[in-house]
Amino acid sequence: MTTSRADAERTKACCAAAYGNDAVALVLGESYHPGGLTLTRRLAEVLALRPGQRVVDVAAGPGATARLLAAEHGVTVDGVDLGEPTVERARLAAEDAGLSASVRFHLGDAERLPLPAGAFDAVVCECAFCTFPDKAAAAAEFARVLRPGGRVGITDVTVAEAGLPAELTTLAAWVACIADARTLDEYRELLATAGLRTVHTEAHDGAVARMIDQIDSRVRLLRMTAADRLAAAGVDVDAVLHYAALARRAVADGLIGYALLVAQKP
């Protein structure tokens, strides 16, 4: 897929704004990624995080993962997100949870992480890599901030070689995290080019189906309880349900999946 720089910037801004939007928060819930905190725990387990280690959470959102990693694994986490209100919300939530000492958030871009080189034991990036317009740059940034032997853990949408139905590749589908998803092999190659060797992969296709169901049912709930205000907020219920149904079918057809992938810096 070729994308002009201007388009890429527009997409990133649109994506970040959408994820920072309260209407989107209502639709997607606390944990924005498929698999929820259960899959986050699995990712932490596979990364074998140890107390005292330093972790970067790229596209940290409101910080649920960062808080979980700090609380359950005793690591310190630097979360990076592109949306200013999102970063502010993440800070507040970490404060509320009494975790400000071990969890910090930075406003920043995955393709230019505002963090020093070689300082981190692990990088996590959940359901976000597929939305980065310049994936090669993001992968290079993962490699840059990791110490030798450090590992990146990614969970993300995968597509089959056959690709997606045309309707799901439009801009409107970007925030649904699928339009620029790649095959597992392509992710592996992107990481390899950045010098990261993939050491472990797992399929979690059910998680993405579950996520689509959740979006569909949250929108239906909002239509039941607050249809007028939902419309006033600019949420087109029929469009959301339409995309959700398309995506659900693509999952059933094996065109969309979800994968956990761990790669290591030599």
Binding site: L26, G29, E72, R89, L221, T225
Partner: protein, 541 residues
Amino acid sequence: MALDERRKRDRDEVFLEYTKSICPVCKVVVDAQVNIRNDKVYLRKRCAEHGQFEALVYGDAQAYLASSRFNKPGTIPLAFQTEVRDGCPSDCGLCPEHKQHACLGIVEVNTSCNLDCPICFADSGHQPDGYSITLEQCERMLDVFVEAEGEPEVVMFSGGEPTIHKHILDFVDAAQARPIKVVNLNTNGIRLATDRRFVAALAERNRPGRPVNVYLQFDGFDERTHREIRGRDLRELKRRALDNCAEAGLTVTLVAAIERGLNEHEVGDVVRFGIDHPAVRSVAFQPVTHSGRHLEFDPLTRLTNSDVIELIADQCPDWFRVGDFFPVPCCFPTCRSITYLLVDRKPERTDVVPIPRLINLEEYLDYVSNRVMPDAAVRAALEKLWSASAFMGAEATAHSLEITAAAVPRGTPAPELECAACGIDLPQAVKELDERAFMIVVQDFQDPYTLNVKQLMKCCVEEITPDGRLIPFCAYNSVGYREQVREQMSGVKVADVVPNATELQPVVTDSPYGSKIASNGDGRPAVARDTTNVGRKAVQR
């Protein structure tokens, strides 16, 4: 030397659990094993006298294993009624080894019924030699329940047919005079259909904070379903009973006994009918319990919870997927699964949203791998909803639905962040949701074939006996306690009921009540001695 041509072969099953059960014929306690074969879960056991028995206990091995994390530590009741002597299931109950308190207490008020259904786990009917309890006995039974629970959640009056007991309204009053929150009346609906004064009398007792809920047998819509399960076409009576309840403002749970090859095609229609009927707030599906009286069946192909859930998903594909049902952590998670729906009925469409899609239940109800405590108030609300004591119309259930729905936006309520941008106050909006909520329960009771003491020991549905015991429902119906109590109460000898399984036909004969009993006139005591805990050293030398 010639090579040995014999080759070792692998077993065709995964050995999963070692447990105890009973012989379905003589009811002697025997060791049992649970195995997975072809993605299904089977319980197998061997009686020294009657041979080997095997039954399907769960149709989906993955779901069976996955549910093991959703197992809530039990609550210790305020009082136990028996002591540990011979071990499970001979000490009921409840004995101090029982792992859970009673969410639901059942008072069977009689053995007579105005029907003689071919399927009846209580073996009731037009019988001259049964019993019915007195008001004093009922009060004592309720007192035992209160003594054990403090403030019991739910009592269910059952039978026989409880509505034909001349003191049934007094029994309801006796329950309401005690700190028991919800009264359930388990009925075939004949009196509700034909006696509007009785319906009005129940409705008078159905007060805010002290609900009376009707638990109405409702197996389907085909005439054949009615004739084979109930022996009569009751369709018109059921309709009138439901309409009378709606008119009087009584909430109803439709209770469908589902049998393989009989009414399994009707589960979707029962759900749709329930959602559309103004009196109905929930549906309970129960694979037919092969205790008491029932049709001939094959234990290896019986229906289980996962089968019923698949049937519902298949027959209402626009509304449900299998994953919308979540195991109940309060009892053993393979015994019962529940889903709640939010229903929006509009002329152009009925929108149905299963609550488990809105909130990641496993993040709250995983008691094994959760290291960080999830939001305690939300977890407590979900525990109340996914419990045997949840009933639509009960205050605790309505309140828990509100807390759950309010937690939907972000997983945890964060008032200061409440949607400034779009101005949607979801917690306020969901306050009205109780009216739209609908519950579906799938419950597979154990029978003498499927009985597994592992499940029995955490049962939270108890039969309250006139002599003041709380006996787990499946023990009461399968182990021999029902026969023991009936014999004590009626003074007439009652033989142990044996399942009407195809393979047992050569060894069974008819009981006076329509069920089957061993044809050799087995003279063993009704409650068998535990032959597992033999009180001997493991190796005799």
